[in-house]
């Protein structure tokens, strides 16, 4: 079951009705309902995935209590490392084992040995969302170990923290310090919150179904047949993917946040208009925020962060970008993508200008300054270039794509098919709405609510109409594979 499916359109109102009208007397009942709904939601992919999710949940729950109650530092460390090794171990087996086996075999084969990796690779499916819920559990266990939080005694609340369906398969990656206290409190749904939640879901669906899936059609066409296209069309293909990946993932996050708001629970923000960033450091403060801050808090800072000398800063920056790339998938393309972003970041870090642009661009104004505009365009183009590695099937594909893109016909007029102008028009519309909403939590938060209601309803009807017309075969969200 995915957010843009008919099943979810039936599932959500049903759970909403039960939550507010049947089990609304006690928080515990509401949490039990949400937990079962989450397990049903996850099991609808493949019921076998539930075993791994349950194991990860029980492991985090049990080791969390053991860490807190350990009599000696030695035992505390034991339970901590047991939890880390098992959690990371499962992630490694399911997500990275085949990659390492294949990479080692390729390495040995390049040295003249004849190794067949296929006999020792595993034929297993990657459980949806494993990277996300593993990170939930890891952050919880680390926080207990560092005495930042107390362990959770209620298995229902902890289970819900790990498996809460809006964020289970593609985040945002929540923190126990943020989500668990909310699960203990009584919740209420005000009219404004409910409308706001619905509006955010609507905007998320628009981004996913209309912009991302519309761009995906042409991005796939161009990337899959890159040998047949001119340099300028390859650039257009990279642009299509740039908007696809953002609208796909931030659309998902908007639906997740909006859905959760309908249950009276606030989730962490995941995107803050990254394509309006003036430098790459700002981009990374605004892109996939929950993951970036996770790496910052649990890897970068423990490694020494920016406190040491220049060498330490550079080393730590490279480590978190490489790990971030690797987190996305077991493919060299993601690692190169991570490394490329580290290289982008380096000049800012070395000149201490990585925290220059902390505020939203052109705050309180309609237009940016020329300097801001140039900064945004350059940052955007750097991101576009990086996404080629992210989208390519392998390193060879990425390099061929880039080589062909930077040929002499890069400046020729691209032969864009006439129907491809539909997603282009929607991208422009989306950019305008995002620009005017860039100082808010999400673009639509303050874009239409103040309008006279017939106009407002017409605007919402337009968004829904576009979603309904363009929703054909359900397209998976890109980040489900991670």
């Amino acid at each position: 079951m995915i957010f843009n499916s008919l099943e979810y359109a039936l599932f959500l109102p049903l759970i909403f009705a039960l939550y507010w009208f049947v089990v609304n007397k006690r928080v515990t009942w509401q949490n039990i309902l949400l937990l079962f709904a989450s397990l049903f939601f996850y099991g609808s992919w493949d019921w076998r995935f539930l075993f791994l999710l349950s194991f990860s949940t029980f492991l985090g729950y049990f080791t969390g209590i053991r860490i807190e109650k350990a009599g000696t530092p030695k035992w505390k460390k034991f339970w901590f490392w047991l939890s880390i090794v098992l959690n990371v171990g499962f992630l490694a087996i399911f997500k990275y084992y085949n990659f390492f086996v294949q990479s080692f075999a390729d390495l040995f084969n390049s040295m003249g040995m004849n190794l067949d990796a296929s006999s020792i690779t595993l034929n297993i499916i990657l459980p949806v969302g494993i990277s996300f819920y593993t990170f939930h559990v890891l952050s919880y266990v680390i926080d207990i170990y560092l005495d930042r939080i107390k362990s959770e005694k209620s298995i229902v609340d902890f289970g819900l923290f790990v498996a809460y369906f809006p964020l289970l398969v593609a985040g945002p990656i929540e923190r126990a310090t943020h989500l668990l206290p909310q699960l203990k409190k009584e919740r209420s749904l005000s009219f404004n919150n409910a409308v706001d939640g619905m509006r955010q879901i609507l905007w998320g669906l628009f981004k996913k179904v209309v912009v991302a899936d519309g761009c995906a059609e042409y991005a796939n066409l161009i990337f899959d047949g890159s040998a047949d296209y001119s340099g300028s069309m390859l650039f257009v293909g990279a642009l299509f993917f740039t908007f696809q990946i953002y609208c796909d993932f931030s659309g998902y996050s908007d639906i997740a946040l909006g859905t959760s708001r309908l249950f009276g629970i606030e989730l962490l923000r995941n995107f803050a208009f990254p394509y309006f960033s003036r430098d790459i450091a700002e981009f990374w403060r605004r892109w996939h925020i929950s993951l970036t801050t996770w790496f910052r808090d649990y890897i970068y800072i423990p490694l020494g962060g920016s406190r040491g000398g220049t060498w330490m800063k550079v080393r730590n920056t490279f480590i978190i970008f490489l790990v971030s790339g690797f987190w996305h998938g077991a493919n060299w393309t993601f690692i190169i993508w991570g490394a490329l972003n580290a290289i982008y970041f380096l000049p800012l870090l070395l000149t201490n200008s990585n925290r220059n642009n902390l505020e939203t661009v052109a705050q309180g104004k309609i237009f940016p300054t020329i300097r801001e505009l140039v900064g945004m365009i350059v940052t955007f183009l750097m991101a576009v270039f990086g996404w080629i590695f992210f989208r390519a099937t392998d390193l060879n594909h990425a390099l061929t794509y880039i080589g062909k893109m930077f040929s002499e016909d890069l400046f020729k007029k691209p032969a864009i098919p006439s129907l491809a102008y539909v997603p282009i028009v929607f991208v422009l519309f989306f950019l305008v709405v995002e620009w005017f909403g860039r100082e808010k939590k999400y673009a639509l938060e303050d874009f239409a609510p103040s309008w006279w209601f017939p106009f407002r309803w017409l605007f919402y009807s337009f968004l829904i109409a576009a979603i309904v017309v363009l929703s054909g075969v359900e397209q998976q969200f890109i980040y489900f594979q991670f």
């Binding site: 008919l6 009219f191 409910a194 409308v195 047949g225 006439s418 129907l419 109409a465 309904v468 054909g472």
Partner: protein, 304 residues
Amino acid sequence: MKKFLIRLLAFVFCFFIIDKAFILVRDSSPQREVDRRLEFILQGKIRADIVVMGSSRGARSLIAQQIEDSTNQPSYNLAFPGSDVTFHEYVLRTLLETKGNKKPSTIVLVVDDSDELKTSKSLKFRFDRMYPLVKYKSVRDEMVKRKEKKPVVTELLVLHQLNKSNFKFTPRKFTKNDSIMPCGSMPISHQKKTFDKKYGTTQYVYKREGELIQKVNAFKEMVAMCERNDIDFIVAIPPNFRKVTAGFANRLQLLVGKSGTVWIYDEAKPEYSNPDYFFDNAHLQKTGSVVYTAEFASFLKNKD
């Protein structure tokens, strides 16, 4: 909560009303099409004894009017460029099931050597040809059956029946590759600029690996439909600018069995290795189509 639910219901009601206005868009879509052949089928207007089906090779290689002149049997071309065998199966099924269409005596399926049953980038089920015709319930049902559209939503919302092509309000124009004759055939009278004119002498051998079960089943279903309706089923392999794939005809004959015939053109004819008769490596141009159609019509006349 009560206020929220009331507002939500009011909005849903208003949206439902707005949605119904799009019936105008849906119902005016067919008028903007220049290729009306699929709509003729849905309207029960096909009156041919010999019907040619297939993809661009069928549309461009066999000239239905020439077949009609030669055999004295009404002929019509229902081949759609870019379509695969699953689409051909849909066209044949619709042709036979729609009231008003005359049951043909012969179906000629012009196949793609050798992608007919395999994955192909250029051949697909042509939903884009169906969207202008979504005002017909049978078209909507087929889209739902093929999971292009969601079942309940398609019934509830007119908007869900449409796609972006329905909002292109200017009439479609034919390109120079798409001009259509009154008999439904679409021969081309020029050559593709990138045609290298080198005759492929490599002898490829057909392999069944890579065949798609959906395509094989659709092909079998076409055979079965023809058998049930007592229709002569002919599978025609048209010329590529290379040798015919060895074993391809045998594979098709195996699927057709005794319920039809697989016919291959005479490879020895000099026209089929002369680039002047070809549009590109995979398609004849009109001069070649005339030669090929004449050969096919002769086969048809002598068949019985």
